[in-house]
Symmetry: C2
Subunit: 301 residues, 2 copies
Amino acid sequence: MLDVCLLGTAGMVPLKNRWLTSLYVSEGNHAVLIDCGEGTQIALSEAGCRVKNIDVICITHFHQDHIGGLAGVLLMMSNANRTEDVTLIGPPGLIDVVQKLLVCASPSFRLLASETLETDAVSQAGNIEIQPFPVDHVIPCLGYTLTVHRKGKFDPDKAKKLGIPLNAWSILQRGESVKIDDQIIHPEQVIGPPRKGLKVLYSTDTRPADSIIQAGKNADLMILEGNYASDQDIEKAKKWKHMTFSEAAGLAKKAEAKELWLTHFSQSIICPEEFQENAVSVFPNTIIGRDGMQKTLKFEN
Amino acid sequence: MLDVCLLGTAGMVPLKNRWLTSLYVSEGNHAVLIDCGEGTQIALSEAGCRVKNIDVICITHFHQDHIGGLAGVLLMMSNANRTEDVTLIGPPGLIDVVQKLLVCASPSFRLLASETLETDAVSQAGNIEIQPFPVDHVIPCLGYTLTVHRKGKFDPDKAKKLGIPLNAWSILQRGESVKIDDQIIHPEQVIGPPRKGLKVLYSTDTRPADSIIQAGKNADLMILEGNYASDQDIEKAKKWKHMTFSEAAGLAKKAEAKELWLTHFSQSIICPEEFQENAVSVFPNTIIGRDGMQKTLKFEN
């Protein structure tokens, strides 16, 4: 299971009825926050998110609307008595930016920072695997995939045939070998091949890019920016390195994702739902993001 | 006239129904903003304040809840096409703090900074005179008075007796001398002594201090923190260098102010109105601040 909460849907400017775009994803007692513009701490509170559980904060890029609320979030986590280290991931320059933004705030826990523009910087928040990938914005920018892997199925019939006592099953189920009499039994003897896990992709502030399609391949959920609703704004989208609804939908289609949420709406889009068809005509399972929208992704049977 | 708008009433943490404490004061096309915590840009927008007119931003001290929204406010002013210089006033260290906080934001205008802990750093925003004064918090902290002075009354009878032609009256009214035939007429010959102006005092994050009483003498409006509603919290107030409702009311009484607004309520105070009597019993004209509360102060006749 993976609980996903889209905290806000605004781009560039927080509005009184629209928080800046940010994502909270949790699994058990571990959570990941992607981006935190001004006001994200209030959005977290409104959505009832457990901020103490945030192990990793991913920053897409260093524009104010994506990182301006970092100090507030870290203080909120301090007030919630977080004491464990928190990992920050972002493009090169992250450490300098964070040190500056925290000039008036001192979190109660240690911050670890990972600066990258590559896909090799994989982190974990409990069972959630976090992988960045580069996208195409006016300054260096990352998208992220959050993946929960799923082990193969334990086969009780095989275990019984091998004469494994019941109290040793759980050891094999968690991937360790056991010694029964003089025979060593390995997990793969009773556990099938890995099953399909869960994958969420998040990418805002970018032109369409192959890296997004590749990272989002067969994703259960892609969350992409739709800064411009109409293709009439394509020149603006190219100039400012953003996407239109239909361009985002095109990425979800090519990635063969299950579902697409659009977010990061320009403040000129008063009612994004009015333009839903621009995306649905390209990728039918497109949902227009709303602040605080939540979904629990479940493993397939 | 002086238009006063209390943008928020929260202390320390912005809440979903309570913005952080901040004040917008305007006279004509000139405005002053005091403090800007996270979310102040949205509060300004909600209250309909003309951010382009903000000439001076006063910072009381460098705690996140009083300055964490500075970058957002400056970007909002840039989006409103402000091009004129903006003056920032705050305690020593201001320039370093502001440079750091703006790591991800570049305003479209020049920033001038005035670092002070004294009362001698008087600034102007149009007719509004801004004067800081030191208060007593856990880190260096300033309060501010905003004053509009009022000239003496022009006496048309005297002007007629002196034979001053009508078209020269406006020159004298704006404080310049005129030459009528061979005689020089000075403004004080036709203008009475200065009349009572308007004064607003703003001070949060402090213990009661004589500097507040002195600066607020005969103020039309004092806006003071009431971080703690009850005197039962006096030890906490002393420890964290804040005030209770009754302590703030005591300052307004000693300063012989006309009116007191309380603000900067601890998040533990769900309904500050329930504790109004704690202040009213000391200073009857105490009003419990509400987000977006506005008042136009007018010159006495």
